[in-house]
Amino acid sequence: MTSIHLVRDDLRPPGPPPRRHLISIADLTRDDVERLLGTAHVFEGSLTRHVKKLPTLKGYLVVNLFYESSTRTSSSFELAAKRLSADTLTVKSAGSSVDKGESLKDTALTLGAYDPDVIVIRHPQIGAPQLVARETRAHVVNAGDGAHQHPTQALLDLYTLRQQLGRLEGLHVAVVGDVLHSRVARSLVQAFELVGVRCTLVGPPALLPRGLGAETTSDIDAIRDADVVYVLRMQNERMQAGANYVPSLREYTARWGITPERLRPGQKVMHPGPMNRGVEIDPRVADSPDSLVEAQVRSGLVVRMAVLYDVLTGGPTGVRALAAAEVA
């Protein structure tokens, strides 16, 4: 017997094709990823020009709705929209009606009344982007929902890897740290699978979720086999008090912290930020030439430009994106 899968689509009247959203890497095909990375590459070319602004999304409204603090994700989405000439509106939960107890549904309905073309949402709860997609007519881009997904982070990491190492297929990446609470890790595992990157998850036993279909080990020496070591942040704010995932941060650092001694010479290191220097990553590693952290931030801008462009235009190929960029 098969289990029940609720299919409510059959109750919906026939209509135009569904709006494009970016909610999970699981929704993408390899072709989608290639197209997005190609578009990002085209946009990167435009950033070397004297005038960096493209008219591509002139007249579109992009709303950034952030229920959690963020530096690089919110700033890069805002800048990405501005570089493409879209109007932007940023709403943060602190200081908004969310403080007065407004539900996500009502906030979505309120913002939806402005007819935004895209809503970029970060929220501490899994599934918040789907709720916004259901309650508004906007294209929804997930900028992080709980421990579920952070798809633009995974895409910018693929972009960085290809740019820095020249390829994706056949690479081996060790992802180290608090996998259990990491939306970045969940998106990365799916993205790596799509493009043929081998992935090993490394961390304390209680921080490796049971049943995640990936290679896992608690042995930190396993990172030596990898081309790239991807360091996750120890998410203190998600650790329940007394949960005892690890006995102490000091013990975590001693056993799983990424130090120069644990790396091979020339082994590349990535981190989604923000870093806890001296906890999961030694400052000598963070500041070394083998750290790709700044390259990741730069990739974040062009990849998010590509994502905004892609959800709004129905995802043409890199060639048409190039033509659009040439209008500038």
Binding site: S3, A26, Q125, I126, R210
Partner: protein, 432 residues
């Protein structure tokens, strides 16, 4: 003790029904005659006389159902359910008796609260309803309720459902004291230091979606503890809403060892797995959570072989706005009274996974036996507690089609066979 609004007994003749009463050993096309609410004839042909004649050709007539686990949200959340709406929903689901859980606001932990519920039920209950009382005052897990007085006031059994009795010492005292009242304990088994913060079953789906997980062992360690205590005290106990294969195995061992332990399972645990949570639909969120396919299969095996004697809906109504939020923010619980037979018939009986007679037994005689309720039966002299079932007709579950005040069903949008055509409870026609 059960309470119901008084109604005149019905005069009816069911003509040509397939009468199925597994406990009486009946499965034949027969007529059934009800005089003034009592069954007076079960035969190949009975006279209708002045009685209303129900053409039951092609339909199944069975003993009506008993649900030992319902949340009526009264007192405190009458916006979600009342005794009137909940018993009306039960009538539409083919039930002739239901038992309501005491985790209301205030908790049913005094004879005064129980008495006010009984008084309301006598005025507005569409079908007979009984009330469990709490094991501990305010369900605080610290002080026993006055079980003697509560039993005298008609408490059907004792339960802290919704929360476990965390202290093993207190559980032992509860088992000891309840034995003096002649009522059983119905236990919600959850070790909260293991389930803490979990929104769904711990497994591959939770790992992928990122939800804090509620492992099956959080249930089974508590099941093992309570079975050990009950065996030591030589007392019966009833395990509510079982979800894990390991819990089923423990119950089976206890029964084989001579223990007086019983268990129940919900329709959603028999049909759904954690894969359903991929939809992020908050109507897939319940406590305990739906688990892996091996757990579902173990529950079905136990239901088939009688290790689990009862099907209970754990009907848990919630206000629309409380479920219309992201999965993690939604409360646990789904409704079930109006869909239980149809979904189990469609998903288990029709595909050949469970005999119809077994389903009917576990929905009626099984739970009645556990809680000491008169078994609904199709026999001359018995009070009429009957459900007429139309197995062939398909109906679609819609949010506006419920008698319950709430519509947080996991079956919205689904087409199901096994429609309830008519219900007779305590001799009165309560649904058609």
């Amino acid at each position: 003790m059960l309470w119901v609004r008084e109604r005149p007994g019905e005069n009816l003749v069911f003509r040509g029904a397939r009468v199925v009463d597994p406990t009486e050993g009946i499965d034949a096309v027969l007529d059934v005659r009800v005089d003034d609410g009592t069954i007076v004839a079960v035969a190949e042909r009975v006279d209708a006389n002045e009685h209303r004649l129900v053409d039951a050709g092609g339909l199944v007539l069975a003993p009506a159902f008993v649900d030992p686990h319902v949340h009526l949200r009264t007192p405190g959340r009458e916006d979600e359910e009342t005794i009137a709406s909940g018993t009306s929903a039960a009538a539409a689901g083919g039930y002739c008796a239901i038992l309501a859980m005491p985790n209301t606001d205030p908790v049913v932990d005094s004879a005064a609260t129980l008495g006010s519920l009984a008084a309301t039920a006598r005025l507005e209950a569409e079908i007979p309803v009984g009330f469990l009382a709490a094991i501990t005052r305010g369900q605080d897990g610290e002080k026993l309720t006055e079980m003697g007085e509560l039993a005298d006031a008609g408490a059907a059994a004792f339960s802290d459902d919704g929360v476990p009795v965390a202290s093993a010492g207190l559980m032992r005292r509860a088992l000891q004291y309840a034995s003096a009242t002649g009522r059983i304990l119905a236990l919600h088994c959850e070790e909260t230091s293991l389930s803490r913060g979990g929104h769904m079953h711990e497994g591959a789906v939770a790992a992928e979606l990122g939800f804090a997980a509620y492992p099956s062992v959080a249930e089974s360690v508590m099941v093992e503890r309570d079975l050990s205590l009950a065996a030591y005290e030589e007392q019966p106990l009833h395990l509510l809403h079982l979800s894990a294969a390991e819990s089923v195995a423990a119950l089976r061992r206890a029964r084989e060892g001579g223990g007086q332990a019983s268990g129940e399972v919900t329709p959603h645990h028999l049909v759904l797995t954690d894969e359903s949570v991929r939809s992020l639909d908050s109507n897939m969120k319940m406590n305990p959570p739906v688990r892996a396919d091996r757990d579902r299969a173990a529950l079905l095996d136990a239901l088939r072989d009688g290790t689990i004697e009862a099907i209970a809906t754990d009907h848990a109504p919630h206000a629309r706005h409380e479920k219309d939020v992201p999965f993690e923010a939604a409360p646990f619980g789904v409704t079930g009274l109006e869909t239980a037979f149809a979904v189990l018939y469609s998903e288990l009986v029709e595909p050949g996974l469970l005999p119809l007679a077994t389903l009917l037994e576990r929905l009626s005689a099984g739970p009645a036996r556990i809680f000491g309720i008169d078994r609904p039966r199709i026999a001359v002299g018995a009070r009429a507690n009957l459900v007429l079932l139309d197995l062939g007709t398909e109906t679609r579950v819609t949010a506006d089609g419920f008698r319950s005040r709430s519509a947080n069903s996991w079956l919205l949008g689904r087409a199901l066979k096994g429609r309830v055509a008519m219900t007779v409870a305590a001799g009165a026609l309560v649904y058609e």
